[in-house]
């Protein structure tokens, strides 16, 4: 999906919230959108989801099925959890049989079982947020847009968000997610967009630029071959340490049993 030279303002003579934003999200790709409060994160996400129409520019190749998890779920509605999700599934053109199965699956997965017959208005914020997440994925989306999806969720549900995202990515979908609390460390490999002053800047992908140190234990006999193989795979050997060797000994030939690869 392409965002092509997009500008947006909410009123005809109002200030530009976003101007000249050009960005691309490929299939199977996740993007984390960062920015300060009021920078335009939600606006950008709503443009991508198709909620807002750009005042200038266009959005190209948006997938047919879009799931949008709004920042705050609109709980002020006279429906039960079950009734609401079933209605949203039908609105997303699922058949009655599929609707029942799909709603059941997501209710179980998100731990909404005890709340099935509870009215939306009586749900806690976190539980309502789960309903907001469920309605977005009832029909597997080609584009999933999540606005602060971790807000108010309990520990178990927090773990579930990256799982849901991974499933969408594995099916060839794209994911846009905003986050201001650093929860997106759970999404290694995601690209990162930074929104500021009406512009979107791509930051170095955290998954590739960031490095980690791995300590391995290797039988002494296999050390030369292991080191050679790791080097051949492009890893950077920091040092090799043997049982008798001094800690700073390096090099593939050293009589060492452990090494540090980067």
């Amino acid at each position: 999906m392409w965002l092509e030279d997009i500008g947006l303002r909410y009123h005809r003579r109002g200030p530009w919230v976003l101007r000249q934003v050009t960005a691309r999200v490929a299939a199977g790709e996740a993007v984390v959108v960062r920015g300060r409060n009021g920078a335009g994160k939600s606006t950008l996400l709503q443009l991508a989801a198709g909620v807002l129409r750009p005042s200038r520019g266009r959005v190209l190749d948006r997938p047919a099925v879009v799931g949008w998890v709004p920042e705050r779920f609109p709980a002020d509605q006279p429906f039960t959890v079950d009734g609401y999700l079933a209605a949203m599934a039908r609105i997303a053109s699922l058949s009655p049989a599929t609707t029942e199965r799909t709603v059941q699956r997501w209710v179980d997965r998100l731990g909404l079982g005890p709340f099935r017959t509870v009215r939306l208005a009586q749900l806690s914020k976190g539980t309502a947020q789960k309903v907001g997440l469920a309605q977005a994925v009832l029909r597997p989306p080609g584009l999933l847009v999540l606005d602060e999806p971790w807000e108010g969720l309990d520990a178990a549900a927090r773990e579930l968000v990256p799982q849901v995202i991974d499933e969408v990515l594995a099916d060839g979908g794209s994911v846009l997610v905003s986050d201001h609390r650093g929860e997106t460390v759970r999404l290694p490999g995601a690209r990162e967009w930074s929104v500021a002053d009406g512009a979107v800047v791509e930051r170095a992908p955290s998954g590739e630029a960031a490095v980690a140190v791995v300590e391995l234990e290797v039988p002494v006999g296999q050390l030369p071959t292991t080191v050679a193989r790791l080097r051949a795979e492009g890893h950077h050997i920091l040092r090799v340490r043997g049982p008798g060797a001094p800690p700073e000994a390096t090099g593939p030939g050293a009589e060492s049993a452990s090494e540090v690869a980067r």
Partner: protein, 229 residues
């Protein structure tokens, strides 16, 4: 789209806010038919005029019951055109309910009488003309109510202003000899036409006029909606 229409009707009926326009409609009809017996066609013509603001108000309530974010969720699910159409269809369905009440009500309270003089219309013909008059009022009322809805007016004050202006327009521009009568839907002209025999050409003109008025206002609604989700 049917699913979204049903969802919105359910949301409207379950909040209890549906009760207000129904009560207002019954009250208006009660006052209208309290005076004595009239010929059905003539009475229905006036009934369509007085129900016009009630139908518009009901449309505004129906569209406004849904939270803004939920409307946007529906938009993401079905696309902007069908999202808008579903709201209008739901309003028409709710309006048909009120129209049905308006057609039955006078018979329950004895507000209308069958033909007594030579030249009076038969009861089925009178009811058919009454249905026609109400069906002319309905699209115009739905269009006005849509234009007064929160997504367009953004504030309760402007919403009420749009409803009031539309209703006053219907009355002020509806008298014979009014300047620019086509600025309002032809409710009073229809009521006048139903007093005597109704020529086919007049019926056709009034129908086209009412539908064209609704179409113009709905086009305005759709245009504003392209900028406001």
């Amino acid at each position: 789209m049917t699913a979204l229409v049903r969802f919105r009707l359910a949301g409207f009926l379950r909040t209890g806010r549906a009760l207000a326009p129904v009560m207002a409609g019954l009250l208006t009809l009660g006052i209208l038919y309290g005076g004595g017996r009239a010929q059905p066609a003539e009475a229905y013509g006036v009934s369509a005029v007085v129900l016009f603001p009630v139908l518009a108000w009901q449309t505004k309530i129906l569209l406004d019951v849904e939270p803004d974010v939920q409307r946007r969720l529906a938009l993401v699910a079905v696309g902007p055109a069908r999202e808008q159409a579903a709201g209008l269809v739901a309003a028409v369905v709710a309006g048909l309910g009120l129209v049905a009440v308006a057609l039955v009500f006078p018979w329950l309270v004895g507000g209308v009488a069958g033909p007594s003089l030579p030249g009076d219309l038969s009861v089925p013909a009178g009811v058919a003309l009454g249905l026609w008059a109400h069906l002319l009022a309905l699209p115009a009322a739905v269009a006005l109510g849509a234009l007064a809805s929160r997504v367009i007016t953004r504030s309760a004050g402007y919403g009420v202003a749009v409803l009031t202006l539309g209703t006053v327009g219907v009355l002020a521009l509806g008298f014979s000899g009014a300047v620019a009568p086509w600025l309002a839907p032809p409710l009073l002209p229809t009521a006048r036409a139903l007093v005597g025999p109704l020529p086919g050409s007049t019926a056709l003109l009034l129908t086209v006029w009412a539908l064209a008025w609704a179409a113009v206002v709905l086009t305005g609604y759709a245009r504003v909606r392209t900028r406001r989700a």
